[in-house]
């Protein structure tokens, strides 16, 4: 805070207090001293025959106002309120937040502590742990992956057996902790539109969808030359590189011919943000177990 604003706030606060005190004290006594005169006892306002008396505040009420001034003085001494004055208690909102966070950590430490010692595969079978995992998932993951983990356009389905980076407990933990950055390069300018269509027809064929066999044939060579490096020669993908399996008819960015052409032409960039700093190890461990549990019931 600059020196001007510092004095601006102090001045404004104190001036207001003095003004208020003046208003209160100035109205303590009735203006006209001769109260015995009937004329002077009313303000002269009459409505429906009801006159308004010119009386001071009742004493209890007056004292309540005085009490608020005393409160203000104590408050301004103890807490930061006057410009850059820090207050005698040294209170800050950041410290209060830290304190609350520490309390919360201490409260949850026991529960998370027990769970973090259990293997993920075992934790996934524990209904109480999974209730907690569900709540963590709802708060942190459901926005993109859906409340049920069923995925959305561009966000993978976590309830099936198709994993882009691998579905083992360790891999899931790794994905949540460090995040993932998927890069499908844009091939439109390299291949040209005709070849994009060819390779798309081939991908449709591999995925078991309706396709043009002639163009797919042409596309096979293009695929082997350009795509097989990541997606593998049989198009089943590569967990190491995060290249999706194209042969299982599960499509992250849509499985229609136009969707696939768009993917090939412009490329895709999928980002799973790293949760390491946000959630900390205990919670990530529990969350990984929950995600692991989602596909346990999956049937082909």
């Amino acid at each position: 805070m600059g020196i001007f604003w510092n004095f601006w706030i102090i001045g404004l606060t104190l001036t207001n207090l003095v003004l208020l005190l003046w208003v209160l004290l100035a109205n303590r006594k009735v203006a006209v001293s001769d109260q015995d005169d009937e004329e002077n006892r009313t303000t002269g306002h009459v409505y429906d025959g009801i006159e308004e008396y010119d009386n001071p505040l009742p004493r209890w009420w007056f004292n309540l106002f005085i009490a608020t001034f005393i409160f203000t003085a104590i408050y301004l001494a103890l807490y930061p309120g006057l410009g850059s004055w820090k207050g005698l208690l040294g209170w800050t909102s950041v410290n209060e937040l830290r304190g609350d966070q520490q309390q919360a950590e201490a409260r949850y430490a026991d529960t998370f502590g027990i769970y973090s010692q259990m293997p993920i595969e075992e934790l996934a079978q524990d209904p109480e742990a999974m209730k907690m995992g569900l709540r963590l998932f709802s708060n942190n993951c459901a926005v993109c992956h859906g409340a049920d983990g069923g995925g959305n356009f561009g966000f993978p389905n976590l309830t099936d057996k198709d994993w882009i980076y691998g579905g083992s407990a360790e891999k899931i933990l790794e994905t949540i902790t460090h995040g993932r950055q998927a890069v499908m390069p844009a091939w439109g300018s390299i291949l040209g539109e005709s070849k994009v269509v060819d390779v798309t027809e081939y991908v449709l064929q591999v995925g078991g969808r309706e396709h043009d066999p002639v163009r797919a044939n042409a596309g096979a060579a293009i695929f082997a030359q350009n795509c097989a490096v990541c997606h593998a020669a049989d198009a089943t993908g590569n967990h190491q590189l995060g290249a999706p399996n194209l042969a299982d008819n599960i499509w992250l960015y849509g499985g229609e011919a136009q969707d696939i052409r768009q993917t090939v032409r412009q490329g895709r960039n999928g980002i799973m943000p790293a949760q390491k700093e946000l959630l900390k190890a205990d919670r990530i461990h529990l969350l990984a177990a929950y995600v692991y549990s989602l596909s346990l019931d999956y049937e082909e």
């Binding site: 709540r135 459901a142 859906g146 983990g149 069923g150 959305n152 309830t159």
Partner: protein, 471 residues
């Protein structure tokens, strides 16, 4: 108009004697004279059972928990065998509305008997005055004691009064806090100095409030704070029971000798002994007519009757009666206003009892998932995702099944049943799935039903919208 005024001198009096109340004056202390009689007994025997019930109720237990417990930290109100939750707040609102209408109905019929006989403010004041009476004697002795300088006797008498007051206040406060905090552990914690700050604070707070209210504020609460007195006139009509002075019979008031022919002197039955004023807990003169301060306690009736007995006059110069009865000698009980109130009251009580008894202790909320898209296509299926909030209020653990129904063959997927404990709110996502070819609408309704596996009676349905692709 003139004729009426002439026929009732008290009316004349009342019209002339408009009293001005100066709100800047501190209240004058009222010394009430002790009186025994029918209404004094009635007062005692309506107050006593209520106080006993109030004191004993927190001690009752059902299933190992207090029978009545307003558990604020847990946000649960246990009342006998039922438990009420924050979303049952409507019941509380309706209960208060019903109570208000009950008050109106009773007021139309018998006046402010609530004030005189059952209102805690009056009952506790009565107890505190009883303490004064026990320690310091009746009205005259108390006035003398207050006027005399401090000596050992005065200290003893005043101290005794204070001791009783403080005891009553502490019992009251402990009991009151006992409705919010199990009373056994409350008392144990307080006695062993292990209590948390909050319950100890509230016990002292309510003890202080009781002490102030019943010891010092007393009738000033009724006179200046209570709104009920202010709108009593709206509910009163000429057939409402109220403590009334029969001015026709009483005037011209005045002192006389017992065996004198007072009627020849032009005097009425009122001997102007002012006992009715001395016993009055709100310090009014009932002979001035109906006043907002009057709490209908009937003590002046007892006082006047005892004087009438002594004088050998007929009782009932001051009595619980109606304006109509004094003027015309009859009272019409069934009036449209009363019937209206009673009908509304009966209707509300019926609906209230019905909804309380048919309450299903299971809550369900259905929230449509706010994802990137309105719906999801997976293979041949359309999927909509909902988060169910299943609230178990049944007092024991249940496992619930989820079904979906509607115009199309909906199927629920991805729901893994888990035990839901008592009081738990389980938020759990489900997929409602339908074959794309079967779904004919872009938007339709789906009915989601949650049923306890072990009790088909525990079942709640909720409708939600279901959205599919444009065809």
């Amino acid at each position: 108009m003139n004729e009426k005024l002439n026929s009732s001198p008290a009316d004349n009096d009342a019209a002339d004697s408009i009293r001005y109340v100066n709100l800047y004056d501190s209240g004058e202390k009222i010394y009430t004279r002790r009186i025994t009689g029918f209404y004094q007994k009635l007062r005692r025997y309506t107050g006593l059972p209520l106080i006993i019930a109030y004191v004993l109720m927190p001690w009752l237990t059902i299933d190992g928990r207090p029978a009545i417990l307003f558990d604020l930290p847990e946000r649960k109100f246990h009342i006998l065998w039922s438990t009420f939750w924050p979303h049952d707040g409507m019941y509380l609102a309706w209960l208060l509305i019903i109570s208000a209408f009950l008050l109106f109905t009773v007021t139309v019929l018998v006046g402010r008997v609530w004030c005189g006989f059952t209102c805690p403010q009056t009952v506790w004041t009565q107890m505190f005055i009883w303490a004064e009476h026990v320690c310091q004697g009746d009205r005259n002795k108390r006035m003398k004691l207050d006027a005399q300088p401090w000596n050992l006797e005065k200290v003893a008498r005043k101290g005794g009064t204070q001791a009783i007051w403080i005891t009553i206040a502490l019992i009251t406060a402990l009991t009151f806090v006992g409705y919010f905090y199990p009373i056994r552990s409350l008392i144990y914690d307080l006695v062993t100095f292990q209590s948390e700050l909050a319950p100890a604070f509230w016990v002292l707070f309510f003890a202080g409030a009781t002490y102030m209210n019943a010891g010092f504020l007393r009738e000033q609460v009724c006179k200046y704070m209570c709104p009920y007195a202010r709108f009593q006139s709206v509910m009163y009509d000429k057939d409402t029971l109220a403590v009334s002075y029969n001015a026709l019979r009483g005037e011209q008031r005045g002192a006389r000798k017992v065996d004198e022919d007072y009627k020849a002197k032009g005097l009425g039955d009122c001997i102007d002994c002012s006992w009715c004023v001395q016993v009055c807990p709100v310090d009014i003169d009932i002979r001035d007519g109906l006043q907002p301060e009057c709490i209908d306690c009937g003590l002046c009736v007892d006082a006047c009757n005892s004087v009438m007995d002594k004088m050998g006059y007929e009782r009932g110069l001051i009595s619980f009666t109606t304006e109509d009865a004094i003027a015309n000698g009859r009272t019409k009980i069934f009036r449209p206003r009363l019937l209206g109130y009673a009908l509304v009251l009966i209707a509300m009580i019926s609906v209230f009892s019905y909804s309380i008894t048919t309450r299903v202790p299971l809550g369900l909320e259905v929230l449509r998932d706010r994802g990137v898209r309105m719906y999801r296509i997976a293979g041949d299926d359309v999927q909509n995702v909902y988060t169910l909030k299943i609230h178990n209020m049944d007092g024991k653990t249940h496992i619930y099944d989820v079904e979906a129904s509607g115009d199309y063959p909906f199927d629920v997927q991805g729901y893994r049943p888990v035990p839901v404990e008592d009081g738990e709110i389980l938020s759990i996502p489900v997929r409602v799935v339908v074959n794309r070819k079967e779904l004919k609408d872009v938007q339709t309704e789906v009915n989601i039903t949650v049923t306890a596996r072990d009790n088909p009676e525990l079942s709640v349905s909720h409708e939600a919208s279901y959205i599919g692709p444009k065809r």
